[in-house]
């Protein structure tokens, strides 16, 4: 290698004398100057009559535009300095975008030299092709907070050569408040402690670089090695690396509430508590997890969770299909079917949607492109959507991937009787022709007829790097309050996981254990990371996303509605469903219910993960409704229910308070609280009743009740 360089050096007297290449030299200059971003010439319609491909994804087209379009008037071969393509960005001519390239800079020189040399796409027919980008270091722990980190970008080419392209690489911090980067030297200055990401872009390659500025160098963290749990090994390692102490373990009663809500969507009742406490302390939690995973409530709750993911809802006229679909899913969960089996059934099921539950998979969104977006978000945690109109700027998805996947679904008739047919095409706007069926990111499928089967087989195979990761990331998020990758439907190399090794290992372990949802949930639920207290301890207030403490989760609308009913001992009525129906068991996500509306349920017509209505995020209307609407008031004032029952039984105020604390918060009232309520609730008859009602209302509105913590 060294000899090669010496030889080259002999042939080419100096680096500056090598010829300028359009693709490898000029394109990066334009990208670095921001010419081809979406807000400027990279917009779909260009800008000021000059259109470039977004982030330079299409050098051939950009070459035509710059060198050949308008009879070549953008380049002036006689007087290169007078070329439009250099006068505009240096603002020698009026340019709406202002000065993008400094006159006299290396960048300006590169463009001018390229024109002087003939403005050719390439000087050598067998020019090496750019292969990959390497950034060093790829991950940094900046030990000294004030110390700058210098990044270096190396491009590798098809002939085995490589070249330092640091100057031509665009480095963008994910959070500009945390890092500042000198665009000329690639020096990164860390401005805030924590874990930060820098995105590097050269030509079509994008890389994410992790930069960690530890919070503290001496952390009395827990032992890093956790031989029986790869979860704790990974989580503890990062905590130590980043310098954040972990909160301690939750007490048993609080653990019971947390695990019951996470695995079954229900508050524990007295019976649950007795069983739990009767167990040997050492195996108490594991036994609880096993019991919860085996319960009917688990099946009901996780059917709801997956139904939201699958967006199961009945379009008018297809209510029966939706019900069949829901029942089928429930059966899969009850029988603990492998997730790959479930996915395979969904992708390949055909027939009458009122008879064949999984065939309804093709009835939840309309059209092959929508089906492609839905399917990739669901099973790959990937957003192909951007690639409808242009190649994805932050990922490797191309328009051919997007329309190729849509072409597979174009053969599926998304009708009451789902079937696969021979005709059915979508147009790829890039070519203006019928899109060719394609497994995104992989390969074209020649056999149109078997394309769907081939795609489905690939989807659940271990060749697919996304399938297992997408679901384990969601399971993790459901239990831990945050995905290892956030948003959970946006897995890509430029949006790296907080714990890449852990995501990898969870996915591998999940696949190895037959894609068993319960297996992975148990792994998570029995880890120390899951069992941590949610309270801040030892200055770990900022480290929640590294699981130094458990993250609080708002209760889902259905779970909260059921919890309210359980505490008050009066069921809520949902549309035509029989009295006493639990909200988590409702099949129709749009059943008439003011309660679920104000709590912010997801109608499942669009993704429930990105839907703004997901989760009870509060809002003025909800709080007005809590104060003055029937959701709480009606049942609190009812002559039936827990409150009236306890009053009628002659219970003391203290006993009543205790009973509600147990039911709602799954704990005993503390001494401070007992004292407070004794002072507050002092009256008799109607006045006492009113005070108790106000107590119950506040209990059902307070943060401790409406969250899982």
């Amino acid at each position: 290698m060294f000899i090669c360089w010496v030889l080259l050096a002999a042939v080419l007297p100096g680096k500056s004398d090598s010829l300028v290449d359009f693709d490898h030299d000029v394109m990066p200059v334009l990208t670095k100057a921001g010419c081809n971003v979406g807000a400027c010439h990279g917009a779909a319609i260009g800008r000021g009559g000059f259109k470039l491909s977004l982030y330079g994804s299409n050098p051939a087209a950009d070459y035509r535009t710059i060198a050949l379009e308008l009879k070549g008037r953008r380049v002036n071969l006689l007087e290169p300095e007078q070329s439009l393509v250099i006068m505009k960005p240096t603002e020698a001519m009026e340019h709406e975008g202002g000065v993008r390239i400094d006159p006299g800079s290396d960048s300006a020189e590169t463009v001018i030299r390229w024109i002087r040399e003939g403005a050719l796409r390439s000087h050598d027919g067998s020019r090496p092709v750019f292969k990959s980008l390497e950034i060093s270091p790829a991950s940094v722990v900046a030990d000294d907070f004030d110390q700058d980190v210098t990044l270096k970008a190396i491009a590798h080419f098809s002939d085995g050569s490589s070249r330092d392209v640091t100057r031509l690489t665009v480095f963008t911090p994910e959070d500009p408040g945390a890092l500042s980067i000198d665009s000329k030297t690639a020096d990164v200055h860390v401005r805030r402690r924590g874990r930060h990401i820098v995105i590097a872009r050269y030509l079509r390659a994008v890389k994410a670089i992790e930069i960690i500025a530890p919070f503290s160098r001496q952390v009395s963290a827990e032992p890093v090695d956790a031989p029986d749990s790869f979860i704790d090994t990974s989580v503890n390692r990062l905590l130590k690396k980043i310098g954040i102490p972990a909160s301690g373990q939750l007490d048993d009663e609080a653990f019971l509430r947390r695990a019951s809500l996470d695995l079954t969507g229900r508050l524990p009742d007295g019976q649950d508590l007795r069983w739990f406490l009767a167990d040997d302390e050492r195996i108490r939690r594991t036994n609880l997890i096993d019991r919860l995973l085996a319960s009917e409530a688990f099946t009901e709750y996780w059917t709801l969770k997956l139904a939201k993911l699958l967006r199961i809802h009945g379009k008018p006229g297809n209510e029966r299909g939706a019900e069949k679909y829901h029942r089928w899913l429930e059966q899969q969960i009850a029988e603990n079917a492998g997730y790959h089996t479930i996915a395979m059934s969904l992708l390949t099921a055909t027939g009458d949607t009122e008879q064949v539950g999984p065939a309804n998979f093709y009835r939840m969104v309309g059209g092959p492109r929508e089906q492609a977006e839905f399917t990739s978000e669901l099973f790959m945690g990937s957003r192909l959507r951007c690639a409808n109109c242009h190649d994805h700027p932050l990922d490797h998805w191309t328009q051919d991937d997007y329309h190729g996947l849509a072409a597979i679904f174009a053969k599926v008739r998304q009708e009451p009787i789902v079937r696969v047919v021979d005709d059915g095409q979508v147009i790829n706007p890039r070519t203006g022709k019928n899109a060719v069926a394609r497994i995104p990111g992989e390969r074209y499928l020649d056999d149109d007829h078997g394309a769907l089967q081939a795609f489905a087989r690939w989807m659940v195979s271990e060749d697919n790097p996304y399938f297992a990761k997408a679901i384990v990331n969601r399971l993790w998020k459901s239990m831990m309050g945050r995905g290892l990758v956030e948003p959970a439907d946006d897995l890509r190399s430029t949006n790296p996981a907080t714990h890449p090794d852990l995501l990898q290992e969870l996915a591998r372990d999940f696949a190895e254990h037959g894609y068993d949802l319960r297996h992975t949930l148990k792994k998570i639920a029995t880890s120390d990371a899951y069992g941590r207290r949610s309270e801040v301890s030892g200055g770990n207030a900022t480290g929640g996303q590294y699981y130094s403490r458990h993250l609080r989760k708002p209760l889902e609308p259905e779970v909260l509605a059921d919890a309210i009913s359980d505490v008050l001992e009066i069921p809520e009525i949902y549309g035509q469903y029989p009295a006493g129906s639990r909200a988590v068991k409702l099949i129709n996500p749009q059943v008439e219910s003011q309660t679920l509306d104000v709590l912010g349920r997801c109608a499942r017509e669009e993704s429930c993960e990105t839907s703004v209505a997901a989760g009870n995020t509060g809002g003025l209307s909800l709080k007005l409704h809590l104060f003055n609407g029937p959701i709480l008031n009606q049942r609190i004032a009812s002559p039936k229910g827990r409150l009236s029952r306890l009053i009628a039984a002659g219970e003391t105020n203290e006993a009543i308070v205790q009973s509600f604390y147990r039911a709602a918060l799954s704990r005993s009232v503390s001494d401070d609280e007992r004292k407070f309520w004794n002072e507050q609730i002092n009256g008799s008859g109607d006045q006492r009743r009113a005070l108790l009602e106000d107590f119950v209302w506040s209990l059902l509105t307070c943060q401790e009740f409406v969250t899982n913590h």
């Binding site: 800008r47 609080r552 809002g619 003025l620 709080k623 007005l624 409704h625 104060f627 004032a637 209990l699």
Partner: protein
């Protein structure tokens, strides 16, 4: 009072302002004279929202002053004619055209010689020298959802991103001050097939707060503002205090980790507790003659409510009036009307009464100069009548009315061709309109927000051009 503030250096004003906001949340202000004093700390103390935006921009981003000049509009009432109003039967009649284009309605002269309006808009026609109309709006989108998204946000819809509406942008920028919500929809925000949330990629709390019922109905009341049977303010206050105590117990336990305060609960309580803010919704306070003047139907009473909200400092009110998708029977739907109809009928006279009364009232209280009034729908209607005596969707040319808030009065901008089919002069896109509305409200249309996934998006599209003729 205003002058006093003007002499402060800008940054100082930002500091003062922050203190005022904090103050306002602690004290209840009393008001006696309708129309003169505004609730919501800023305006009550003589500081307009326009100033506030500018201060925010400077204080937050360190940006330089934009070149848009001093904005006049502090609030905006958008009268949304849902379904797509016919331009030919409102602001752009074609009396010379053949019958199948001209349609069944006559036209009348306006305050501006040579300009004619539909015969159903006599009061509005008489005040054309004080309002302004664009007759050359043009869009390619003739489907309700798409057109609504385009007109309400300035952006054509894309599957990738829902853009925020005007009220949400205002709400995001002004930080939701005051007791009343800063973005209110009357009676609701179910527009264009109701797929639009209104907040787009902005946080959900910027969405329009729907009053939830029809102000023209005898028992009109905003949902959940009145006490539930058996409750009173004392008990709600006690409940609120109990919640606070419970949250505090937990906070103490958790050693001040995540905050346990509940700002929405406080906002809700303040609204319920503020008889003064709630009075905004008490249409019965208006003299019978005033209520009559606006017209007793939904549109009129909604506009009356909008006026009362704007008087109390609410920055953005959408009056959403349904029924303008008039595919058949223009005479009945647009002109005559009859009692007990199943669809909205007599639409244009309703609009005329409501609009004229609103403009007149705002003029009288001096609020028109700082209140932007916009009347529009998602598109116009086909130049030729269809076989059912109606008109179908037609986005290629249509009209929009603007008034007050710094809009050039008496301007009829652009024109359509002889049959109202295409723009003839000065075509204006909904993006241009958006940039203009934002400019009038003191918001730089090129200012950027970041979406959740970090994509920078400007408030109005980059290619949008402010309609300078419209700005007085």
């Amino acid at each position: 009072m205003n002058d006093q503030w003007v002499s402060f250096p800008r940054i100082k004003r930002a500091t003062v302002l922050r203190d005022l906001i904090a103050d306002e949340s602690r004290h209840r202000l009393d008001f006696n004279r309708r129309g003169l004093v505004r609730v919501g700390g800023l305006t009550a103390l003589g500081l307009g929202l326009g100033d506030y935006f500018r201060i925010q921009r400077i204080a937050a981003a360190g940006e330089s002053e934009t070149s848009i000049g001093k904005p006049k509009a502090k609030s905006c009432i958008l009268i949304w004619l849902d379904g797509g109003p016919s331009h030919l039967e409102t602001f752009d009649p074609k009396p010379e055209a053949p019958l199948e284009v001209r349609g069944p309605l006559d036209s009348i002269a306006t305050a501006i010689p040579g300009i004619r309006f539909s015969e159903c808009l006599p009061s509005t026609a008489a005040m054309l020298d004080r309002i302004s109309v664009i007759r050359s709006m043009t869009s390619p989108l003739g489907e309700h959802n798409f057109g609504t998204h385009y007109l309400m946000t300035g952006y054509k819809p894309t599957p990738v991103l829902e853009y925020p509406g005007y009220g949400a942008v205002l709400s995001q920028l002004n930080g939701r001050v005051g007791v009343l919500p800063s973005n209110i929809a009357v009676p609701d925000f179910k527009v264009g097939g109701s797929r639009l949330t209104g907040s787009g990629y902005l946080p959900p709390e910027t969405r329009p707060f729907s009053v939830g019922s029809d102000p023209s109905k005898p028992g009109f009341a905003v949902r959940d503002l009145d006490f539930y049977n058996g409750l009173d303010l004392n008990r709600l206050d006690r409940r609120r205090r109990f919640v606070e105590s419970l949250n505090n117990f937990e906070e103490r336990k958790s050693k001040a980790g995540e905050t346990s305060s509940d700002p929405d609960l406080e906002r809700a309580f303040r609204l319920i507790a503020s008889t003064d803010a709630k009075r905004a919704f008490e249409l019965n306070e208006e003299p019978a003659a005033t209520r009559q003047k606006y017209g007793t139907r939904t549109l009129g009473q909604s506009c009356l409510l909008a006026r009362r909200l704007v008087e109390r400092g609410v920055p953005f009110v959408t009056v959403n009036h349904k029924g303008w998708d008039t595919h058949e029977n223009l005479t009945t739907r647009l002109k005559d009307g009859f009692a007990g109809a199943r669809v909205s009928v007599g639409l244009v006279p309703s609009l005329d009464l409501a609009l004229a009364a609103l403009i007149e009232d705002l003029e009288q209280t001096g609020l028109l100069s700082e209140t932007l009034v916009v009347v529009m729908g998602e598109f116009g209607r086909t130049p030729k009548l269809n076989t059912r005596g109606g008109r179908d969707h037609w986005p290629r040319v249509f009209s929009v009315m603007l008034a007050g808030g710094g809009v050039t009065p008496g301007l009829v901008l652009g024109s359509s061709d002889a049959v109202g089919e295409s723009p003839r002069t000065r075509p204006v896109t909904p993006s241009d309109l958006a940039a203009t509305i934002y400019t009038l409200l003191g918001i730089d249309p090129r200012r950027e927000f970041k979406t959740d996934d970090g994509r920078p998006v400007s408030i109005a599209p980059h290619q949008a051009e402010v309609i300078s003729e419209l700005i007085a």
